[in-house]
């Protein structure tokens, strides 16, 4: 079972100094060590973006997929090898923009895997354009007049669309992020973890300080009820705010919004997936019955 040190590569991170991705990397390594997977029992899939660049830095059975397509690639892995826990690392443009359709369908599919979304509310790698989660009115090189649309509400979408574990965290709190990761890894079903990840280089609006002043832990709130889908959805709405909001009028909840245990996963409903599917190809399959049916 690899330790944090063993999970590191000779290839060292290239993120900008102060990037929230460092904190997420740290939290993930610790969570994997704590849950105690052997190298043979987990796989990690990355999308494309600065979030995706983490692929070079984590020693594992990894797959650096296409921009927006990490979820389907991961689904293909999860649906052909029941012995692997699959972790998927995406950016917000990656996961909620270009890959939005896959996000929607992954939630309702409930394939057992963990989706981690590096939500910096900006396109990092392509130099700072607006992302689907950029706050309304935010000015970026692709939206000089300010973003017109409402941001995507990933937590709300995940809850509405049937994900069985939906959480949000702030990378600035590494220990908390790590504990959310561990719960997601232990969840039996599709786990969505949206992470506020400051991008000091391009997002001058949603900075570390900005998030730190606004986030609060859901479980500290009276009436905390992550078993209720309606409650979770309602909580997801409270994240909408505008650029000028004051910290006390703009509270951002983090924590587990929703959790439903005991729901059969997609894999659970596939009796043929009792073993890795490569085993089907050890010798030619007998098709005589199928052929006779056409006689």
């Amino acid at each position: 079972m690899p330790t944090v040190a063993e999970l590191e590569q000779a290839c060292k991170p290239t993120w900008c100094p102060g990037c929230g991705d460092f904190q997420m990397w740290k939290a993930l390594k610790q969570a994997i060590e704590n849950v105690g997977y052997t190298y043979e029992r987990f796989a990690v899939v990355w999308g494309i973006g600065n979030a995706g660049n983490g692929a070079d830095f984590l020693r594992c059975q990894g797959f650096h997929a296409l921009h927006g397509r990490a979820l389907p690639t991961a689904t293909g892995i999860a649906l052909t090898n029941p012995e692997l826990k699959v972790i998927v690392e995406m950016g917000d443009g990656d996961g909620y923009g270009i890959g939005g359709n896959h996000f929607l369908h992954s939630c309702r599919r409930n394939v057992e895997m963990v989706g981690i979304f590096h939500n910096n509310q900006i396109y990092g790698l392509t130099t700072g354009q607006a992302s689907p989660t950029s706050d309304q009115f935010m000015k970026t090189p692709s939206t000089p007049g300010g973003v017109i649309e409402e941001p995507v509400n990933p937590v709300g979408v995940a809850v509405a669309q049937g994900a069985t574990f939906v959480a949000r965290t702030f990378s600035g709190d590494v220990a908390y992020t790590q504990s959310i990761y561990e719960q997601a890894l232990r969840h039996h079903g599709f786990a969505v973890v949206d992470v506020f990840q400051p991008c000091p280089t391009w997002n001058k609006n949603n900075t570390f300080k900005w998030y730190a002043e606004r986030v609060y832990k859901l479980e500290d709130e009276p009436g905390y009820d992550p078993d209720s889908r309606v409650w979770a959805f309602e909580k997801s709405l409270s994240t909408f705010h505008d650029l000028t909001c004051a910290p006390d009028s703009c509270r951002l909840p983090v924590g587990v919004f929703y959790r439903e245990e005991g729901v059969p996963t997609y894999q659970d409903r596939l009796p043929q997936l009792a073993q890795p599917m490569w085993r089907q190809a050890r010798k030619p399959r007998d098709i005589s019955r199928a052929m006779r049916a056409l006689g």
């Binding site: 590569q9 290839c11 290239t14 190298y39 043979e40 796989a43 899939v45 494309i48 660049n53 692929a55 070079d56 020693r59 594992c60 059975q61 990894g62 797959f63 650096h64 997929a65 296409l66 397509r69 389907p72 690639t73 991961a74 689904t75 293909g76 892995i77 999860a78 649906l79 052909t80 090898n81 012995e83 692997l84 359709n101 896959h102 929607l104 369908h105 596939l270 043929q272 997936l273 890795p276 599917m277 490569w278 085993r279 089907q280 190809a281 050890r282 010798k283 030619p284 399959r285 007998d286 098709i287 005589s288 199928a290 052929m291 006779r292 056409l294 006689g295």
Partner: protein, 591 residues
């Protein structure tokens, strides 16, 4: 206009036409199955618009005691379930052909003058025995009577089809069939064509191209199939889904992008994985098709064309995607494109495609079209004893040390250890990468060159592994045809027709379209008296490949792009026309 019985071959063609939703295709297929079980050879051609109701549907069943390779050209017996069929399909009848019609809905005066009418109370008989739904049963029995074909095989087919649902329905259908048979029998003396069972004929199966591909994939040990429905590939998804119990995970996904990316993920775990679609879906798959190339993933992709661009003509056929599949996705990477010409090819090339994908660790395309996908033919059961599984350098169990996923090797093949193997930490990467898989390192010029050359080297191995072209006919011939894919059937029938007239033709079927078999095609063209390239498209995409890869040009070309497949008659006519012209001088100079 052809005369009844004038055709050189002893086969007969029966067309059923009527409104969409009237069960025309099912009726034609049960007629074909009846004939097949009685030892005859059959081939269907289904033609229908992209509508569920309201259009005009026809199925034409060609049947005969000797094997043939393509669909019927004209019609001997037309079963007209409505007036529109008489109007639209009447002209296809040969001189003296028969129209089975219901006098209650079609006036005798509207029948074509060159045909003979066979009035049968289709609706009345059907209603008497259980409902209008049995109309097709009555009509088919009537067609059998005209040919003096015994009714018993059809009766047992009806029992086989309906007994499990309800004995009453089965009995009703049998009674309806008997009445229809008796009514048409009265006219059989005037109708000269006869068809009899062939006792002791070998067992056969009735398959379309998609069935054949599915059987090939199942035999190859497929473990994962993902698709988004698109005609004519949708029935592959239906077939595979019915066979999940054989050990396949089958997923109808949100779009073709997901399908292709999932298949690449499935290949990562060592599963044999495939997706299939038509040209539109493959357009969406293009980026992930390239992903399979750079990540060196062993995947099989079925592309079954219909006329494009965009939505095009969903239910019709064309070979317009050859150059597209050869070039799809940005950048350069090795790929193999196989084009089955018939159902037997479709079966064998599919399992071979999985072996090629595993040996080469790169995507392999099966390129077909609606003509092959949709239409059923009676064939001998596929020779499953030929199926082998070759997973190449795939390590599925145990342990590896100093593992490098993209190790630079002389033939370009890096041993592939799948997740679960001890020591198989790796990074499969869509970015250019080094031997380990690191993207950062992949930007170094020398690493890029090493990995690019390593991948492209696999093309050399592909040339030695991929199936060679297949030659048909005499070594020397008046006309030499080069083609690929589903034109094979009409070409082979045309060759038989020409041979009967004393015109010799030979044919080189390009099976592997990429890497292009330039040596074999050049050799074939170099000695041809008159060469002809036949393709079901406008621009001559195969000919472009010949010019590019062989630096030669054929003497003539035959293209068709109206959404229909070539008929053998059309190809034979083109050959005759060429023979009337002087043969080119054999100068030995490549032209």
């Amino acid at each position: 206009m052809a005369q009844l019985g004038e055709r050189g071959t002893p086969d007969i063609s029966i067309r059923i036409g009527g409104p969409a939703g009237a069960g025309i295709k099912a009726a034609g297929q049960s007629l074909a199955r009846t004939f097949m079980r009685e030892g005859l050879w059959t081939m269907d051609l289904t033609e229908y618009p992209s509508l569920i109701r309201g259009g005009h549907n026809v199925i034409t069943v060609r049947v005969g005691p000797k094997p043939f390779f393509s669909h019927a050209v004209d019609v001997d017996i037309l079963i007209a379930l409505d007036r529109l069929t008489v109007e639209k399909d009447g002209p296809s009848l040969v001189e003296g052909g028969a129209v089975v019609y219901d006098p209650a809905s079609v006036e005798a005066a509207t029948l074509p003058s060159h045909a003979r009418g066979v009035p049968v109370q289709l609706d009345e008989i059907a209603k008497r025995n259980g409902g209008v739904i049995m109309r097709n049963t009555v009509a088919m029995a009537a067609a059998l009577a005209l040919l003096r074909f015994p009714l018993e095989p059809f009766e047992s087919a009806l029992h086989a089809q309906f007994d499990s649902k309800s004995a009453e329905v089965a009995e009703g259908n049998v009674r309806a069939a008997r009445e229809g048979h008796a009514e048409a029998w009265k006219h059989a003396d005037d109708f000269p064509l006869r068809l009899s069972p062939v006792p002791g004929a070998p067992e056969r199966v009735l398959v379309d191209g998609n069935d054949a591909v599915c059987l090939g994939a199942l035999a190859a040990g497929i473990g994962f199939y993902a698709a988004y429905p698109m005609t004519p590939a949708s029935t592959l998804l239906h077939y595979m889904a019915r066979h999940e119990g054989d050990g396949v995970v089958v997923k109808h996904v949100e779009d073709e992008i997901a399908a292709m990316n999932m298949v690449v993920g499935a290949a990562f775990t060592g599963a044999r994985a495939m997706c299939a679609t038509s040209g539109g879906g493959f357009s969406l798959m293009a980026e992930a098709f390239g992903l399979a190339g750079v990540t060196e993933s062993a995947v099989v992709v079925g592309v079954f064309s219909r006329p494009g661009p965009a939505t095009g003509m969903p239910t019709w056929t064309e070979q317009g995607d050859l150059q597209f599949v050869i070039h799809a996705a940005q950048g350069e990477f090795p790929r193999v494109v196989l084009a089955p010409g018939d159902r037997d090819d479709a079966f064998h090339l599919t399992w071979q495609a999985f072996n090629l994908a595993d040996r080469l660790q790169t995507p392999v395309v099966l390129l077909g079209d609606s003509y092959l996908s949709d239409n059923r033919q009676s064939v001998l059961p596929f020779e499953t004893a030929r199926v082998t599984i070759d997973r190449g350098e795939t390590i599925t169990e145990g342990e590896v040390s100093d593992y490098l996923r993209y190790r630079d090797t002389p033939d370009g093949i890096s041993p592939r250890a799948i997740p679960g193997v001890k020591g198989a930490e790796q990074l499969v990467n869509s970015y250019e990468h080094d031997e380990y898989g690191w993207g950062q390192e992949g930007e170094r010029a020398e690493v890029r060159v090493q990995q690019d050359e390593k991948r492209m080297r696999k093309m050399e191995l592909a040339r030695t592994l991929a199936p060679a072209p297949v030659a048909f006919g005499p070594l020397e011939a008046d006309v030499s045809i080069v083609s690929f894919g589903s034109t094979k059937g009409p070409i082979r029938d045309a060759m038989d027709e020409l041979a009967a007239e004393g015109v010799s033709a030979n044919f080189l079927q390009v099976v592997t379209c990429w890497p292009f078999p330039a040596r074999e095609v050049s050799g074939f063209l170099a000695v041809a008296k008159r060469s002809l390239v036949v393709e079901n498209n406008y621009t001559g995409q195969l000919e472009q490949l010949i010019r590019q890869e062989c630096l030669m040009e054929p003497d003539d070309r035959l293209h068709r792009y109206d959404g229909r497949a070539f008929t053998y008659a059309q190809i034979a006519e083109k050959a005759r026309e060429m023979v009337r012209r002087p043969a080119r001088e054999l100068t030995g100079v490549t032209r």
